[in-house]
């Protein structure tokens, strides 16, 4: 996978081993970063992360219809640790690494 974009990185940071719905994740993102995220962006980004194997996805249903639940996968957790270490080594602030920079280092 490529180096994650700032949005992907922020979402990976928010995810835990506990499952969270897309709507709750968008709310959490808004609360933590102060920026709103459209549902379209969220689901597209999460699909990319899922394709990379960083996120586990489960489909469910409630009274309103379909719900998609996300949690970080083992691979994602490992990658997150590596990313944090990598960032510390660079001395970079959170979300400061530009998109596509040092591509493939984490592979």
């Amino acid at each position: 996978m490529k180096m994650p974009s700032p949005t992907e990185w922020a979402l990976i940071e928010l995810l835990t081993a506990r499952e969270i719905s897309g709507r709750d994740l968008a709310r959490l993102y808004e609360k933590e970063t102060g920026k709103s995220m459209s549902y379209g962006t969220l689901y597209t980004t999460m699909r990319r992360l899922k394709d990379a194997g960083w996120v586990d996805v489960r489909e469910d249903e409630d009274g309103d219809g379909r719900v998609r639940l996300f949690k970080i996968s083992g691979k994602g957790a490992q990658a997150r640790i590596k990313l944090v270490e990598f960032r510390k080594a660079l001395g970079a602030e959170s979300h400061a690494i530009p998109f596509g920079f040092l591509e493939g280092r984490l592979a």
Binding site: G22, R23, A26, S38, Y39, G40, T41, Y43, T44, R47, D62, D64, G65, R66, V67, R68
Partner: protein, 186 residues
């Protein structure tokens, strides 16, 4: 047992309450109808004024043209403003639930324009919006505001896909452009 009403008394009380409720409903409907009628009459008057003004500009002699054009301009602006006002008021009078369903239907129709992998996102968005709507209603926000928020979410969802579609269309057409250039030169 004087304080406790009998079953027949309860029935009477209930039927009275129902009659009152029905009267209220009728009054509200009459009020709405009267409002609609008044608004349409006003806009009709303005529209006729506009036509008169336009007629004055077209058919009157030259000395009248200046005044008549001014009247025509004012009436046009007035009629436009009034039409917008009438539409806005009528929409706010409509039953809100019907409008909400219509908006979510737009998403349902849009679903078929998407690639198959993204179609599921529409279902997810619809269920998320339903939850958002319920939350906003519980917070006591006005229906108009709720509709604006929903429309905003829908637009933010649709626009990137439309942009992506337009780009892919351009990409598909670009070889054609190259061919046209080659043959054009030849």
């Amino acid at each position: 047992m004087n304080g406790v009403p009998k079953l027949c008394e309860l029935c009477v009380i209930r039927s009275r309450q129902e009659i009152r409720l029905n009267k209220l409903r009728l009054l509200t409907e009459k009020y709405r109808m009267r409002q609609r009628l008044l608004l349409w009459l006003m806009s009709g008057c303005l529209a006729s004024l506009m036509i008169l003004g336009a007629g004055a500009v077209i058919f009157r002699p030259e000395k009248w043209v200046e005044t008549a054009s001014w009247i025509a301009l004012m009436t046009v602006l007035g009629a436009l403003g009034q039409t917008l006002l009438v539409r806005f008021t009528l929409r706010s009078l409509e039953i809100d639930s019907a409008r909400q369903i219509r908006k979510l239907d737009v998403l349902g129709k849009f679903r078929f324009l998407l690639p198959r992998a993204c179609r599921e996102d529409v279902d997810l968005l619809q269920s998320d919006l339903k939850k958002d709507e319920r939350e906003m209603i519980a917070r006591g926000l006005t229906p108009s505001f709720i509709n604006i928020v929903k429309a905003w979410h829908i637009c933010r969802f649709i626009v990137p896909y439309l942009f992506d579609g337009a780009l892919s269309l351009l990409r598909a057409l670009s070889p054609l452009k190259v061919l046209l250039k080659i043959f054009g030169k030849g």
